[in-house]
Structures are given as structure tokens and as C-alpha cells.
């Protein structure tokens, strides 16, 4: 059996290897574990690598006759450490959940298990998904595989870096204000945030309940569509879930004839780097070349999106994160003088600075006397944003913008300046506030670093939106595998096998 080269290997590619008998599930899984061993010392995408569990799941697949297997059985996947997996430590990259082992599977995990996927492990993130660089992890700093001195974006930075570094064929992330799309953009991979409600949130550790969605990070649009179909669906355990109206299927569109694309004017201002603008403008030309019609559109309310988001999301978070009190699971300061002392010390020591900042903002915004001025006002702004998008979709099939106003920034560059960090999600946040689907696809490079293009669709337009993304992806032909050598200090196991 020839050694499997996982660099550039998509999930569809994995499936073909297994289906054609060119690799066993164990060989495929072993190849990814070897790749992790070779490069993760430099990338540091994984918090947990479940070698034993992955190999035994793969062996169980190999034991089944090929004709009895499900389509994706034996294909490996990696998971953001915000998804509860029964029996596998789930920390949200927080000290307060260190050692927490969920007694249940998230609905998406149960679906993937039933489909026979092999779980390689859990991926680093900003603590409780709060951040845009993954530097807010309590445990380690994940690096951008395109430039190890730069951030991978966040909060799903581990998921994006892992796919870009070929440490998994695909991964799941979560997106509350851009946490899938922004790191996908910075790491040069595809990131899809589904319509709110398309995918069950049961078992996704809550950050901001009205904004959170689970979604795929992949090498290409077809993989994203396939993974979406694996995880989407109404779930009786999530009363806010609706599922999709139809499967995304296999995107196959060649051109963009008959489609109207709105270019969001507000996103092309000063906050946007020149290099990013150039790549974006070139992508707009490509849309035209494929037969699509592009025109400028103004959504004035989106400029207040960041402000509204940083009231709504922390408000919900301040309540969602209150359960980490040291009583039932996770970190507890002991011994304590009394109940109050236990609460204060447990939470002061268990949470990191950014999480505490947002809990305080949210607590303040919901307090008596401030609720109307902050939380209620932010919700009114949210309504205006929804109205602006609704109006724009009267004229356009899809809206496009840069995913991130900048390319990947240097590690440590923005960590001391929360406001600069928050602006990383300028273009992505309004999409969550309006509950819309959006996908980021690699559009090119600026100074050697990936630049992503965001395509936003109306509610439940995923099949058409991914079809359009596929057509564009085929024409843009952007490489999604970082030219990463095995890093220093990594114990490569490759030679031994």
C-alpha cells in the first residue's frame, strides 16, 4: 500500500480512497495522525488528539464489508472544542472546564457518529468562542499555517488552521459573529455559517444563543455542502432549529448567468486593507466574467452591527456562562470561606480576561435601569439590520464582501486592543444578527497571505449560495493547502512507519 499523502486531500478525496479500496480507514486515520504528529508542534491546532478512539473507530469501519458502509463511513474529521462529545474532554479552551467530560453527544456529533465518521480530536479556539485570533485560549497559541508568526483568526482558529495544515480533511467550527468565516479567510480555507436554525445547537456550548451556529471548515465548497447535509436538520432537542428546506447536494454550477450580486458599499471603507480590496475587486471581476451581474448596494445599518453585537452577545453570554459556578463540574476554588467566596474565586480564577470583560459588559447591559438603553436598543438596531438585508435581497440574489477587512495579523498585535480586535468581524457580524447564511471562500492572496470572499444569501438559500460559490471557486483556483514543512521540535513519526 502506497503511503497516503494527505496534503491537499479533501473529504471527497478521502471517500474516494476508501471506496476504491486504495486505503483502509485505519491507514487513512493513521496518515492524519502522522501528519498531526509532524506539524501540530508548530501549528498547535489540537487540544486533544484521540488516537486510540480514532483508530478503533476506523478499525470498526474496516471490519464492515464495503458495500454495507455508509457514504462517509471511515472519513476522519476534527472538532472545535466547543462541541460536546460523550466521553471526550470538552473545555471550550477554558480553565473553568478543564477536565470536563460531557455525559452526552451534541446532536451534530450523534449525526456524524451515525454516519460513521472518525473523530481525530478537539481543536483549539478562543475561550468560549470569544475572540478573533484564538489567542484567548487558556491553553495554547495556534499559529497560522501560512505564516507561523501570525494568528489563524478566531474563534474557530484551531479548525481553520487544522484544515489549512492538512491535519484533518475537514473540521467543524461554530460562528457567533464570524468565528467560522474570519479564520477560514485568514487561513485560506472554505468556511460556511448556515442559516440560524439550519443546524441543531444542542451540545454546542452556548456563547450567544440567538447568534451561535455550527458549520463546516473545508478545503472546497463541495466538501462544505456535504458536511452541511450531514449535520443539518430540525432537532426536537433544539426548539430554535428548523433544518434546511432541501439538501445542499453536490454543487455543480459552471457559470453565474442570471444571478445578481450586491457589493456591500459599507464594507469597502477605510477599515479595509488595500491588499484585501485588490483581491476583492479582482473577484468581483471574476463574477462578471462568469456571467453574474454586480452592482453596489448600501446597507446603512450594518455600520452599527459591531456595536449592537457587543451588547447582545455579551448579554446572552453573561447568562449562559453563569452556570460555571464550581458546584457541579469543572474548576472549583477550594477550600472556600463561604458560598460567595467560592463563586468569586472560582470564576475569577477559571475565566480569562476577555471572557470576564464580556460577562461584565453583558451583566451591565441587562441591569435594571440600563436594559432599555443598551440591550433593548441593540435589539432595535438588530431589527433595522434585518430590514436592510431584506430590502437588499429584493434587488439581489446574493451579497458579496471581503470576509475580513485584513489578512492574518501578527501574534500579539491586537491582544491589548480589544476594539481593534472586535473590528476583525466588521463584515461578518451583521450576518449573524440577521440569522443569514454566508460562506467564505479563498479569493487570492495579499502579500502571500490568504484573502477570503464572503457570499451572503437569504435565509435557507444554502443550496443556491453554495452552487454560486462553487462556480466562483472553480474559476478562482486558489490553493488551500499551506506550504507547511514539518516544524522544529516536532517528533515526526513518519519515518518509523
Amino acid at each position: 500500500m502506497a503511503r497516503i499523502d494527505v496534503t491537499g486531500l479533501t473529504a471527497h478525496g478521502c471517500r474516494d480512497l476508501l471506496a476504491g479500496g486504495d486505503a483502509s480507514a485505519v491507514e487513512l486515520t493513521r496518515a492524519y495522525l502522522d501528519r498531526i504528529a509532524a506539524v501540530d508542534g508548530s501549528v498547535q491546532a489540537y487540544l486533544t488528539v484521540d488516537e486510540e478512539g480514532a483508530l478503533s473507530a476506523a478499525a470498526a469501519v474496516d471490519a464492515k464489508p464495503r458495500r454495507e458502509r455508509l457514504p462517509w463511513e471511515g472519513v476522519p474529521i476534527a472538532l472545535k472544542d466547543i462541541l460536546c462529545v460523550k466521553g471526550m474532554e470538552t473545555t471550550c479552551a477554558s480553565r473553568i472546564l478543564k477536565g470536563y467530560v460531557p455525559p452526552y453527544d451534541a446532536t451534530v456529533i450523534a449525526k456524524l457518529r451515525a454516519a460513521g465518521l472518525v473523530f481525530l480530536g478537539k481543536l483549539n479556539m478562543d475561550e468560549f468562542a470569544m475572540g478573533s485570533s484564538t489567542e484567548n485560549s487558556a491553553f495554547q497559541t495556534t499559529r497560522n499555517p501560512w505564516d507561523l508568526d501570525r494568528v489563524p483568526g478566531g474563534s474557530s482558529g484551531g479548525s481553520a488552521a487544522c484544515v489549512a495544515a492538512a491535519e484533518a480533511p475537514w473540521a467543524l467550527g461554530s460562528d457567533t459573529g464570524g468565528s467560522i468565516r474570519q479564520p477560514a479567510s485568514l487561513c485560506g480555507v472554505v468556511g460556511l455559517k448556515p442559516t440560524y436554525g439550519a443546524v441543531s445547537r444542542y451540545g454546542l456550548v452556548a456563547f450567544a444563543s440567538s447568534l451561535d451556529q455550527i458549520g463546516p471548515l473545508t478545503h472546497d465548497v463541495r466538501d462544505a455542502a456535504a458536511l452541511l447535509d450531514l449535520i443539518a436538520g430540525r432537532d426536537p432537542r433544539d426548539s430554535t432549529s428548523t433544518g434546511l428546506r432541501g439538501p445542499a447536494g453536490v454543487p455543480a454550477r459552471a457559470g453565474l448567468e442570471g444571478l445578481r450580486f450586491g457589493v456591500i458599499k459599507e464594507y469597502l471603507g477605510d477599515a479595509c486593507e488595500q491588499g484585501v480590496l485588490e483581491v476583492f475587486e479582482s473577484a468581483v471581476k471574476t463574477v462578471g466574467a462568469l456571467g453574474g451581474v454586480c452592482d453596489e448596494v448600501s446597507l446603512p445599518s450594518v455600520e452599527r452591527g459591531v456595536a449592537a453585537y457587543y451588547l447582545i452577545a455579551p448579554s446572552e453570554a453573561s447568562s449562559n456562562l453563569a452556570r460555571y459556578d464550581g458546584v457541579r463540574y469543572g474548576y472549583r476554588h477550594a477550600p472556600s470561606e463561604d458560598l460567595y467566596d467560592m463563586y468569586v474565586r472560582t470564576r475569577s480564577e477559571g475565566f480569562g480576561a476577555e471572557v470576564k470583560r464580556r460577562i461584565m459588559i453583558g451583566t451591565y447591559a441587562l441591569s435594571a435601569g440600563y436594559y432599555d438603553a443598551y440591550y433593548a436598543q441593540a435589539q432595535r438596531t438588530r431589527t433595522l439590520i434585518i430590514q436592510d438585508f431584506t430590502a437588499a435581497f429584493q434587488r439581489f440574489d446574493y451579497l458579496i464582501s471581503p470576509t475580513s477587512p485584513t489578512v492574518a495579523f501578527k501574534l500579539g498585535e491586537r491582544i491589548a486592543d480589544p476594539l481593534a480586535m472586535y473590528l476583525s468581524d466588521l463584515c461578518t457580524i451583521p450576518v449573524n444578527l440577521a440569522a443569514l447564511p454566508a460562506v467564505s471562500i479563498p479569493a487570492g492572496f495579499a502579500a502571500g497571505l490568504p484573502v477570503g470572499l464572503q457570499i451572503i444569501g437569504p435565509h435557507f438559500s444554502e443550496p443556491g449560495m453554495l452552487d454560486a460559490a462553487y462556480a466562483l471557486e472553480r474559476r478562482l483556483k486558489v490553493d488551500t493547502v499551506a506550504p507547511l514543512a514539518a516544524g522544529p521540535g516536532v517528533s515526526s513519526a513518519e519515518g518509523e512507519r
Binding site: Y104, R201, A322, R323, R328, Y340, Y371
Partner: protein
């Protein structure tokens, strides 16, 4: 929200009643009543609702507040809450939503309670409460809403019985997530007596709806009271929230103690502080906590994990149609259908099993008056004496009907029937068996009695001759002899007839 001038509660003036008041003061009481619903499963997860099970045996990731879990509303609980709201004549919201009430406490796993805030399920209802003197107090119902219960804490060590000062505390989450309906009344109540009557009335109502066990001792019915006092005509005084009254007696005593405390404080020039006051049943006194946990800002906001509940007219009408006959309507019907007095009908309507017992007995025994007398008299006395519920009594409707049949056929005298009833209640045996065992049946067999009469007349020719000569008194001698022979069980009327026939009357 002051009561109008027509309100009889206010018209009674200064008397606080129940022994708690002093001249010149009047109490203003509003109630907050929590009713634990008897749904099969909890409010937001599939765990069974239980009582008295080993700790933490009916729990799951959802009701333990694990990371990532989501609530799913129990539809049965919404239906039950709607029943309660409709029975209290509330307006049902077309669209109702849940809010999160945020606070830290170890018995609250998510550190927020899913409750309702500004869009509750029902608003603007009322409950008519019959006072001890038979007059009616209409208590306004501000709101009826749904929420989830907390777990139970057990504090070990420490003298306070509270979490501060305990060596350690244990949490049992079996109760956590049980559906609760909170009923908030207007401050329309003026005395502890009225408060007790109001809660009793509410308990009877909810019991008849079949949606809760409404047992105060087990905590399926819990009552807090907002209490203030004032000089009649003054604006409302500062109120306190009185908690921990887990029986009707404690409710009354707690209110009396708190009203007394407030009056004494005001009369000595102190101010009332708005705070939570705990009633201690052991000492009969009230005490305030004044801990740092008191300063609550619950930071209510709409629960983002649950979409609004749209209560369609068709749903509300279906629930309304399924309501049983409510006490007020039943009272009217009992008066009209059976000719009962207002008091009798009120007693039977307030206690559904007793009312059902009466109607069953009236149908089986055929005599309404006698049935009502028995049910409200001997039968109720027996229940009270034995501390039994209607369903627990060995004297079923059929058995009491059998007893009344023996009376109406002349087999038993009314006096004997009472004796037989006592035995039925005591032994659980049917009437016929007891009558046979004790030989209590009246001898109404003409043949049997005639033989005795013939024998006695023959054996006493002297007195017989006297009677025939017109000495009517002598008949009494013969009756006494018959009764002696039959140990008093002979039907007296029949004995008289037979004696006259065999003695041959004067001129007869």
C-alpha cells in the same frame, strides 16, 4: 391597585381579624402561590417528576445545566397552566414568552430560572372567596405564569440551618426543573383569615382541575405573602415578603406574627424595610435575613433558546371545554337541582370528592334530604375524626346507600342506623353484616310477632280481661312484655296492631 369602595373587605374597617390586629390599623395582603404541576415529566426535559425518591436519581444533562444543553417546553405543562388561568377567569395571552431570571444559588443549576416576565400566560383574573361569615371576597388575580422549580438543598452542620455557617451543603436536583405555575394576587386581602380562606379556595379549585397534588406539606402548593399595614385611608405602607409557610395554620400564624411585628415597629416610630421575612413554625415568630444575597437584580431578558408560544384560540377553547364543573357553578347547580341551602351547597362544592359522594348517594338512595344530612353530618364527622379523605373511607357510596335503604324499609330505626354507621366506619364491614351480627334488625315479621303476642295474651288472662273491660293502660304492659321477649327489636307499630287484634278491644 386599591380595592374599590364597594369591596366588602375594606368596608369592615379597622379590624385586622384573626386576632392579629390592633385598632386603628389595617393590613394589606397579596399572595404569591406556587403550584407544582403533576405532569409526567419536567418542564424542559424528559425526566420524570417524582417525590421522595433517592437524591439525584431523576436528573439528566438538561436539568443539571450541563454545558451545551437546551430546554424544550413541556406542552402538557402549558395546557395545565392554561387550565388554571382559565379557571381563575384570566385573559389568556395569544403570544407568551419565557424570560431568564438570573441569580446564583447552588440549587439553580443554570444560575438562571426560566420563568415569565412581562408577557405571562394569563392576566386579569379573579377568585371569589367565601369568608367564615358566608360573605364573599373577590380577590383579583394579577397574573398566572409558568416556570421551573429549583433543586433542594440540605445543609449539614452549623446552627443556622442556612448555607452560611453550614459545614457543607448537599444538592438534590430531582425536583429541579419541575413545572411550576405561579399565581399572583392583587393586594385585596385584609386579614390572615381571608388569606387562609383564599389559599384553601385556590387549593380546592386547582385540585378539581386535576393538574396538581396541591399538598402544602409536600410542597406541591407553596405560598408567600406580601404584607404591609397602614392606617385606614392612608396609601399602602412598605411591604415585606413573608416566606416559608408550609401549612394553612402556619400561613395564618405567620401573617398574624408579621402584621403584629409591623404594627409594633411603626408604633414605636421605626420604619419598615422592604425585605424577605421568614416564618419559623417552631417558635411561631418571624425573622429577617438581611444577607448580602438580598440585593437582587435578576436581569430578566427574553429566553433566546425558546421561541414564543402562540396560544391559538382553538387550543384555548379546547382547554376551556375540557374544564370540569368549577366550584362556583357547582354550588349554583346543587342549590337548584337538589334544593340545598347555600351553606350546604357551598360545602359540597368546595370539596369535589365530597360533592361527588353526595351526588352519588342521592342517586343511589333516592332521598336527597336524608343523603345531604348524612354526608354533611355523620359522614363528614367520621372523616374529620379519622383524618381521612373521602376516597380513603371504608364507607363507600354504595354501602351508605345500603344503610339508608335499611332505614327507609323500616328494618332499622334512625337511632340504630347511627350505631350501625359507627360500626361500618370502624370495621369496614357492610351494613347488612353488622345488623346480622348484632341482631339489630327490627322484627317486622308479622307471623313471628303474632306467635309471641298470642302466647303472651294466653299466659296473662288477668290483664287481658282488664283491657277488654276498657283499661287502655294495660296495653302498655303487653307492649313491654313483647319488647322484653324481642330485646326491643319488635316494630312497635306492628306490635300495637297485633295486640289490639288478639286482646279484642273494649266493645270489639
Amino acid at each position: 391597585m386599591s380595592a374599590g369602595p364597594a369591596d366588602p373587605g375594606r368596608a369592615r374597617g379597622a379590624g385586622v381579624g384573626g386576632g392579629a390586629g390592633r385598632d386603628g390599623w389595617e393590613a394589606v395582603i397579596g399572595l404569591e402561590i406556587h403550584v407544582q404541576l403533576s405532569t409526567r415529566t419536567k418542564m424542559f426535559c424528559g425526566c420524570e417528576v417524582t417525590f421522595g425518591e433517592p437524591p439525584n436519581t431523576h436528573v439528566c444533562p438538561v436539568c443539571l445545566g450541563h454545558p451545551g444543553v437546551l430546554p424544550v417546553t413541556n406542552e402538557k405543562a402549558v395546557e395545565y397552566a392554561t387550565r388554571i388561568a382559565l379557571a381563575l377567569d384570566c385573559r389568556i395571552a395569544k403570544r407568551t414568552i419565557f424570560h431568564r431570571k438570573n441569580y446564583f444559588y447552588p440549587d439553580l443549576p443554570k444560575a438562571y430560572q426560566i420563568s415569565q416576565y412581562d408577557l405571562p400566560l394569563g392576566v386579569g383574573g379573579h377568585l371569589d372567596v367565601e369568608r367564615d361569615d358566608g360573605s364573599i371576597l373577590r380577590v383579583g388575580i394579577t397574573r398566572v405564569h409558568l416556570e421551573e422549580d429549583a433543586g433542594k438543598l440540605v445543609h449539614a452542620g452549623g446552627a443556622s440551618g442556612r448555607i452560611d455557617g453550614a459545614d457543607y451543603s448537599l444538592v438534590d436536583f430531582n425536583r429541579g426543573g419541575t413545572p411550576l405555575v405561579e399565581i399572583v394576587s392583587e393586594p385585596d386581602i385584609s386579614t390572615p383569615d381571608e388569606a387562609r380562606a383564599c389559599v384553601m379556595q385556590l387549593r380546592n379549585l386547582v385540585e378539581q382541575l386535576g393538574v396538581s397534588d396541591v399538598n402544602m406539606e409536600e410542597g406541591s402548593l407553596r405560598c408567600d405573602a406580601n404584607v404591609s399595614v397602614r392606617r385606614p385611608g392612608d396609601p399602602f405602607g412598605t411591604k415585606t415578603e413573608l416566606k416559608n409557610m408550609n401549612s394553612f395554620r402556619f400561613l395564618q400564624r405567620g401573617l398574624e406574627a408579621e402584621i403584629e411585628r409591623q404594627i409594633a415597629a411603626l408604633e414605636s416610630g421605626e420604619r419598615i424595610v422592604q425585605e424577605t421575612v421568614h416564618f419559623d413554625p417552631a417558635t411561631g415568630t418571624v425573622s429577617t435575613l438581611r444577607s448580602k444575597e438580598e440585593a437582587h437584580d435578576y436581569r430578566y431578558f427574553p429566553e433566546p433558546d425558546l421561541p414564543p408560544i402562540e396560544l391559538a384560540d382553538a387550543f384555548v377553547e379546547r382547554v376551556r371545554a375540557s374544564l370540569p364543573e368549577l366550584p362556583a357553578a357547582r354550588k349554583e347547580r346543587l342549590m337548584a337541582q337538589y334544593g340545598l341551602s347555600s351553606k350546604e351547597a357551598g360545602l359540597l362544592a368546595a370539596n369535589k370528592p365530597l360533592g361527588d359522594y353526595f351526588e352519588g348517594l342521592a342517586a343511589a338512595a333516592g332521598d336527597v334530604r336524608t343523603s345531604a344530612n348524612w354526608v354533611l353530618g355523620d359522614f363528614s364527622a367520621h372523616l374529620n375524626a379519622a383524618g381521612l379523605e373521602v376516597a380513603q373511607s371504608p364507607v363507600t357510596v354504595d354501602r351508605l346507600a345500603e344503610l339508608l335503604g335499611l332505614v327507609s324499609r323500616g328494618t332499622l330505626s334512625g337511632k340504630m342506623a347511627k350505631e350501625v354507621f359507627e360500626a361500618m366506619a370502624g370495621t369496614g364491614k357492610p351494613a347488612g353484616e353488622i345488623v346480622a351480627e348484632k341482631g339489630l334488625g327490627q322484627i317486622s315479621d308479622a307471623g313471628e310477632l303474632e306467635a309471641i303476642v298470642v302466647r303472651l295474651v294466653a299466659a296473662n288472662p288477668g290483664p287481658a280481661e282488664e283491657f277488654r273491660r276498657g283499661r287502655e293502660r294495660v296495653l302498655g304492659f303487653f307492649v313491654g312484655q313483647v319488647m322484653k321477649e324481642t330485646r326491643g327489636q319488635a316494630n312497635p307499630q306492628l306490635v300495637n296492631e297485633l295486640l289490639r287484634r288478639h286482646l279484642g278491644g273494649p266493645g270489639g
